[in-house]
């Protein structure tokens, strides 16, 4: 019989319905994998428990699940237990899915390696000496190693797509407003979006059709209807147009990534895509604009962790001393850096030069992208400039920020995007490619990704028991 981990979600549920698989058999399969992999990976902050259909879903630990910790990978929320569930998780729970566990992340989702967690770094299952990417590194590692079927992550600047590329799994970030952010701990509210990490495109689509949709508890959700899973793949995609930049846009990208990106473009053409080379140089300052807008919002959102409302409280004689001690002890260095930068760019005298410019740049690229999508339906790019790097290798914050150079513009404009595993490097590490689409065009983006997946036949050897 086929190994349980190799069935997709829809097939697993059909087998359950037919009585060929029981919920406990499924749970047991994943439980055994967790016993084997978790001591090596540190992908979870808290284990879940069996319930419903037994199919375990990982939930990034900045998304609330009632009665479970929501630490955000931070010391400041170390003992915080969520009193309510996020809409995304609530909708999955109602469909019978079990919580596989709360997954590790960079503190408050600020990072690209999952090294900045107060609970220790997560490791990449393809090579334990390397990072899984971040900030949803725990979710990506857990899915890649087959410890959960699917995982939820959050994507503020690439935090679902980049770790998915590093771990050889699918990372899907829908249009801003498609999935409710209710219960997602805010980092940068205008950029944050819950995303889905899975081993295949169909599973991402399956979960998307369950969790997306209007939510009165998040005023930024769109009321546009969400298609049913079956409808998504009934879409015909025999012809499509795609846009890609000149190689000069990919400066600093490793040769292996560039060569696989070229192969990807060839494959798209083979599948009937009409490709057009376009100038994307207007996106070159996205990363700077992102770090202005995101840190400005973060400095405001994280002001609530003051030792009064919830989380860590350090002992002190006076109120301001307590604020000082709590925030100093509770936040890690990267979070402090971003709070300080965010406070600076919002400060009087600098606001127009920094935050004002960031917002203007965001509107500028969004308009340019709107025009560009008249010339083609998809933009294709590498997901990352290189393969997963070694733990501890990137000490310089700016070099870490540049990891997200191909992903952040998507969040600035609120677009949907997906990273799919494309090939392996000579060293046996996964390489991902990214497809970006116009707003709310998730259906066709998923159909194209599914077709590509059928051609690529990327083999997740980890699911078959192999490991480096």
């Amino acid at each position: 019989m086929t190994e349980i981990g190799l069935f997709n979600l829809s097939e697993l549920l059909k087998l359950q319905k037919k009585g060929e698989l029981t919920p406990s058999q499924i749970w047991e399969y994943y439980f055994k994998r967790r016993q084997k992999w978790e001591p090596k990976l540190n992908a979870f902050i808290k284990e879940g428990k069996f319930s419903g259909n037994g199919i375990p879903i990982g939930v990034k630990d900045n998304i609330t699940v009632e009665g479970y910790p929501t630490t955000c990978g931070s010391r400041i929320l170390k003992d915080y237990i969520a009193p309510y569930s996020a809409t995304a998780w609530e909708r999955l729970e109602k469909k019978g899915f079990a919580l596989g566990g709360k997954t590790n992340l960079d503190e408050f989702a600020m990072g690209s390696s999952t090294e900045y967690s107060a609970f220790g770094p997560t490791r990449n299952p393809w090579d334990l000496s390397r990072v899984p990417g971040g900030s949803s590194g725990g979710s990506a590692a857990a899915v890649a190693a087959g410890m959960v079927k699917v995982a939820l992550g959050s994507d503020t600047g690439g935090s679902v797509r980049q770790p998915s590329a590093f771990c050889g799994v699918v990372g899907f970030k829908p249009t801003y407003g498609r999935i409710s952010r209710y219960g997602l701990v805010a980092f940068a509210s205008s950029l944050d979006q819950i995303g889905i990490i899975s081993t295949n495109v169909k599973d991402a689509a399956f979960v998307f059709s369950i969790i997306a949709g209007d939510d009165p508890r998040d005023s930024t959700t769109t009321s546009l209807s969400v298609p049913l899973y079956e409808e998504i793949f009934s879409e015909d995609l025999t012809s499509f147009t795609f846009l890609y930049p000149d190689d000069s846009f990919c400066y600093g990208v490793s040769e292996e990534i560039l060569s696989s990106y070229h192969s990807f473009i060839k494959l798209l053409k083979k599948l009937g895509g009409k490709g057009k080379k376009v100038d994307l140089s207007f996106l070159e300052n996205s990363i700077e604009a992102y770090y202005i807008v995101a840190t400005a919002e973060a400095s405001s959102n994280l002001a609530r962790y003051d030792g009064v409302k919830y989380g860590l409280r350090e002992k002190a004689e006076e109120l301001f001393e307590m604020y000082f001690k709590t925030r100093t002890a509770g936040f890690g260095d990267e979070v402090k850096r971003r709070i300080l930068l965010g406070t600076f760019v919002l400060s009087s005298g600098y606001y127009d030069d920094y935050y004002g410019k960031g917002v203007a740049y965001r509107a500028f690229i969004s308009e340019k992208l709107r025009e560009l999508f008249k010339e083609g339906e998809f933009i294709v790019l590498p997901t990352t400039p290189d393969v997963a790097f070694e733990i501890g290798k990137k000490q310089d914050p700016i070099s870490m920020y540049l990891e997200d150079r191909f992903t952040v513009f998507v969040n600035l404009a609120g677009l949907p995007a997906i990273s799919i595993p494309f090939t392996l490097s000579k060293g046996g590490l996964p390489i991902g490619v990214q497809i970006v689409s116009k707003w709310y065009n998730e259906n066709r983006m998923l159909v194209l990704s599914d077709r590509l997946e059928g051609e690529i036949l990327f083999e997740n050897k980890l699911l078959k028991g192999g490991e480096k």
Partner: protein, 88 residues
Amino acid sequence: MKMERGDSSIYVLSRVEKTGKISEDLKRIVDWVSKLKALELPASEFFYPPYITIKRRKDVARIFEKREKLLKLAPELKNGLFKVPRVI
């Protein structure tokens, strides 16, 4: 440690970190993001993707006359802090 009034928690944080590596990194990061200042861009309103209309909640308190009246009932202020009876 006794803190002086007027310190915000952010300021307190920046003061204590200003001699460390965080400060050095921050200076470099500020220089790095300053590249954006050179761009000539038209001023813009805050951007949201299409088809998102922010739905204002009806139960959110706004500034209204009643609020002003309620604030008059608040405890007396001393040095910017509310004076409240000590509870033993």
